[in-house]
């Protein structure tokens, strides 16, 4: 009886091997994310945009999940994303190792929703196109900063950054270790742009960076004049970005 089962199993395995074609998907081979199709690859700064044609799972424990979107949502958000990412030149993107943008919706890591997942090793930024409209554009730059930080870790000194804050202030242990995840900009900043800035150093840096990019120059100038801590943080981020690419325009 067991022999029969073993033979059956062998037969099934054999059939499976014979009918499994070579997985020749170019996108998968490049960035190891399944179920993607090209949205736009002919762009000025050579960023290549993909979209999820069906949901996908990633990670060793398959804990990163994202779903496919309908065409209208994709078209609407693509224009917005394109406009924002077009700010970055090919040379800058090359220096921060960003090349592929994946558009999908309901992006989550281990059940926690997130706006984006940057991966400088795979040169990829996954963006949730259904993330809150209110913060969407700014959050794109927030995620870009994480790529910058990951790619140039040596430039961004967390101890140096922490010294800008009030001596009594302490960040949370991780970005999701706190309930204070608000993304609204404070009226009175007091060293931090948002509640989320207080979670970790890298999130604080990303919030400062995204606000520098997103807010107009006049507004940033006002904040610099009113908030000494943020003034130092803004100067710090600007100087580090200039070290990466001296031609970068904020």
């Amino acid at each position: 009886m067991i022999t029969n089962y073993m033979n059956l199993l062998r037969l099934i395995l054999l059939v499976f091997i014979w009918i499994t074609p070579v997985y020749g998907n170019s996108i998968y081979n490049l960035i190891k994310i399944p179920n993607l199709e090209v949205y736009e690859i002919d762009t000025k700064n050579r960023l290549k945009y993909f979209y999820a044609k069906s949901s996908f799972r990633l990670g060793v424990q398959k804990n990163i999940i994202c779903e496919n979107s309908n065409r209208k949502d994709l078209d609407d958000k693509y224009n917005l994303i394109y406009k924002n990412l077009n700010k970055y030149t090919y040379n800058f993107l090359k220096k921060i190792n960003l090349k592929y943008i994946v558009l999908c919706e309901n992006l989550s890591i281990s059940g926690i929703n997130t706006a984006g997942i940057p991966d400088n090793v795979m040169k990829t930024l996954i963006l949730d196109i259904k993330f809150s409209q209110k913060y969407f554009e700014r959050v794109i730059h927030h995620e870009v900063f994480h790529l910058i930080n990951d790619q140039h870790k040596e430039l961004f000194d967390e101890n140096e950054w922490t010294k800008f804050n009030d001596i009594k202030f302490k960040y949370a242990k991780c970005s999701t270790c706190t309930e204070n995840l608000g993304l609204d900009k404070y009226e009175k900043t007091k060293g931090f742009f948002t509640e989320y800035s207080k979670s970790t150093v890298s999130e604080d840096m990303a919030e400062v960076y995204s606000h520098i990019i997103y807010l107009d120059d006049e507004k940033i100038k006002q904040i610099r004049n009113l908030d000494k801590i943020l003034n130092k943080k803004i100067s710090y981020i600007e100087s580090k970005i200039k070290k990466i690419d001296n031609s970068f325009v904020f």
Partner: protein, 214 residues
Amino acid sequence: MIKKIKVTAAEKIIFYFLILLAIIFFSTFFIIKNKCLFVKNHNPQNIDFDKPNNIAILEAPCGNVIMELYPDVSPNSVKRFKKLIVSGSYKDIAFHRVIENKLVQAGDLEFGKKKSLDYGRIGTGKSGLGTINSEIDNRFSFKKGSVGLARTFKNDTEDSQFFIILQDEPLFEGEYTPVGKVLYGLEVLNKIKSQRHSEYILRPDFIVSFKMLR
């Protein structure tokens, strides 16, 4: 007394039909076995090239693959590629990675040699000349027949391995270093041994020779 039996016309027809059938059967057997039978072999001596100094001829089991190299697009990579071609390093090297109608890859000088093929490590071998930097900043359209240098997961790890694509691959632009394009003989590449269930080939085909025209 043996009675002579007269062969009828119908019997004669059946007899000749069977002989014809046997001939067709054996002919078909040999035709099918010879995968190169209908592949046109291009002779580079009969072709006029605009830039003969950049023409390389790769001889595969079914004939010549004639390619033009592009030193203007990727100067250092073409220099390395030419150096290996001129030194005869690619002779008897396996087409170790073949995806039907998509890509052919060869050039592992360490583990892809015919007499010392190492299935366990093929695709990871080196030339001994060291790696070179990727040249991916110039615009290049990876159309069918484009030749590029293979690399590891990281940039700037190109060495001796190269690939030829058998379909357009627009996503390869900016990822892989282009070194040239096949002008004649793509059909020869389509006949290189592939396997349906694996990109890496058991008992692969080998490069017969790889030379510069001049």
